[in-house]
Structure formats: C-alpha cells, structure tokens
Symmetry: C2
Subunit: 193 residues, 2 copies
Amino acid sequence: MPHSKREIVLKCARQLFEQDGFHATGIDRILEKSGVAKMTLYNNFGSKDQLIAEVLSRSSHTHIERMKEYILIASSDPYEQILAVFVALGDRFQDPEFCGCMFQAAIAEFPDFDSEPAKAALAHHQRIIEVFFKLCTDANLSNVDQLSRKLALLASGSSCIARQTKTRQPADDALFIAEILLERASISVPTPV
Amino acid sequence: MPHSKREIVLKCARQLFEQDGFHATGIDRILEKSGVAKMTLYNNFGSKDQLIAEVLSRSSHTHIERMKEYILIASSDPYEQILAVFVALGDRFQDPEFCGCMFQAAIAEFPDFDSEPAKAALAHHQRIIEVFFKLCTDANLSNVDQLSRKLALLASGSSCIARQTKTRQPADDALFIAEILLERASISVPTPV
DNA sequence: GAACAAAAAGACAGAACGGTCTATTCTATT
DNA sequence: AATAGAATAGACCGTTCTGTCTTTTTGTTC
C-alpha cells in the first residue's frame, strides 16, 4: 500500500523538518499535518530521533537515486556525468520547495555523531563521495581519492550557499570549478598506450 | 570592565551554542554555566533570540578581525593573503574546540531570514565575500565579483566538511582549488602597459 | 456476524521551555 | 553614611515538549 500511514507520516515529517528544522518541529505538528494519531506514529517509529533518522535515510536514497537517473539521461560519458551532477544540483536549488540541504542541517543540529540522526546524515555524505569516486574512476581520471573529495566539497559548498540564495548560481559556480578540476585530472596522467 | 556579567554570559552562551546548537541550548543551561541570575540575562539581552543574534554578531567580528590579522602577518601580497585565508581556516578546523561554523548552523536552525539570528548570520557571510572581494581587487585579478563568490564557496564548503572531519584537510583541499582559480584569474586579463 | 488488529482520540504525565515578577542583597559613588 | 543601580535567588506563569496509557472506533478477514 503506497499511502500507508507510515508513508504519510514520513512525507509530512520530511516537509516540516526541511522547512522549520528538526528541533523546531514538534511531534504534534507532524501529527496535525499528517492527520495521524500519536500512537500510530510511536508504534511505527519508536521515537522522534528514530523518525528523523528514517526520514534522513529515505531522503538520502531518494536523492541519490534521482541524481543517478539524471546523470544517466544527461550523458553516457562519466566525465560529462560528473558535470551533470552540478547541473542537477542547480535544478534543485531553484526549485521553490528547496529549503537547503537536510543533511547539512541535521549534522548541525545533532552534534553528537553517535545519535541516529547524525549517523544517517553522515552516511549520506559518504554516499555522495562514493558516487563521485565511481564516476571519476570510470572517467579514468587521476588522483581519484582527492578528486572525489574535492568534488564533494564543491557540492557541499554550493548547497551551503544555496540555502541562502535559493538560486542555481552556487551550482553554476561549482560546475565552473569542477570543469577546471576535471580538465587538470584528465591531462596530468596520460593514459598508457 | 572586561569581565562584566554581560561578557560572561556572551562567552558561555557562545560555547554552548557552538557545542550543542541554538535550539538545543536552553536559557537555564546558560545561566548555570555563567553563574548569572535569569533577570541579569534578560535585562541585558531582552530575549533568547537577541542573545543569539548578539553572540553571532560578536563572533563574526572577532573571526574576521583575527582572520585579517592572520593574513597580514602571513604576507603583504594580497595574492598570497587570499591563500593564507585557507591556511587560517585549516588551523581553526584542527583546533580541539572547533565544532563547526556557527553561522552555517544558525542559518540552518533559523529558516526565517527575517529573524534576528538569521540576519546576523547572513551578515557574516556577506562580510566574508567582501574580504575576498577586497583582496582580489588589490591583487589585480580579473572577474573579481565571480572570483570572490567562488572563493567564499570554497570557504563555506570546507567549513561544512570540517564540521564532520575536524581535520585541516578540507581547508587544504580548498586551498589547492583556490590556487588554481587565482592562477587562472591572474593570467586571463593581462595588466595594461 | 464474530473476531481481530490497526488506528483514532484524547487524557495524562513529567519535564523543559522562554519569560516575568518580586523581594532582597551587594556594590559603587557621592 | 546615604543612595542608586546592578545583581541576586527563586517562585511563578503559561506553553510546549516527548512520550505513555486507555478507551473507543474502524476495517478486514474468516
């Protein structure tokens, strides 16, 4: 059942957490928005922290899946796919519903990295790096470790700025820089004959 | 008087906000840590939000002042001073007291940009861009607007990653990228004879 | 129609929240 | 020594917080 109570709560909670933050969003507002009884929420998720962690985990997989679909449509060349990531980011930033990266907010609001929400958010960042790592490897670029880390830094930086500007400009800026990095990484180590 | 109650409250509040976040830090914990009566706090700051805004505003000026001192000692060449910014960032990231950039956290926790805390945090980001802008101008670089924006993106990105890693690596990565950007910006528009 | 589980509804707990108020004490300055 | 302003302790307000509990309703399946 696609519209189970569980899914409704997850969707409403996600929206409220994105809009207002995690601590600023009370359980009661999630109940009100989702039209669900309190016990339904607690039977399904156990606690607010676990609900937050589940929201983050779901959102992570959704975002990364969409991202992968986007870059597959954009190009079949991994080099171009890396750049397409930043185009996809730009699209997200100018979406009226965009309120900033949830995972950055979660890491800011949960300084205890052993907490469930923090772990879920940290896992997302790791997945982003892995996506870049794979693309860089497929594109036969040099210094894949460093490069994927730097691309992730650009993505994080642009998301951070976009929370304020809500325009695609930070993504365009990051794309510009990424192009330079890729250019460098593709010529410095020539492919063996 | 350097150790007035006001200053004590500001210092304690800053530490707690940095460690635990703004919403997660209650007034009572600030009172306990600073050993100050509740009315003293409210007579001095009016409300929690105003206290937060004041903490942010003070921290902004402190950080930027220290940054400027740092880069002045590092070099007299504005080109090198830009790079020194990222060295300074690296020093901060590996400081045991570093818990992530307060201003990013504030913007995440206060989505209403008309709120006092958000305004204080946004002002900080603007000041960072202005610092880069002035340095880029002094260094006779091209496309100063875009360039300073991109340097600020690198700074934000590295701060964002450093919240997790707590190492200087994100700053080093950003420095590496900044060097490339500056190199490009210094050769693309040759100085007229 | 009986039986069952899921969900609703809402009272309730206990603590913490931001913030106010009063009455008292401390500490300068004159 | 008198006075004014700052700071104190702590009771108190109403609200909100997460989370628990019980009772009733609903919907589904034998």
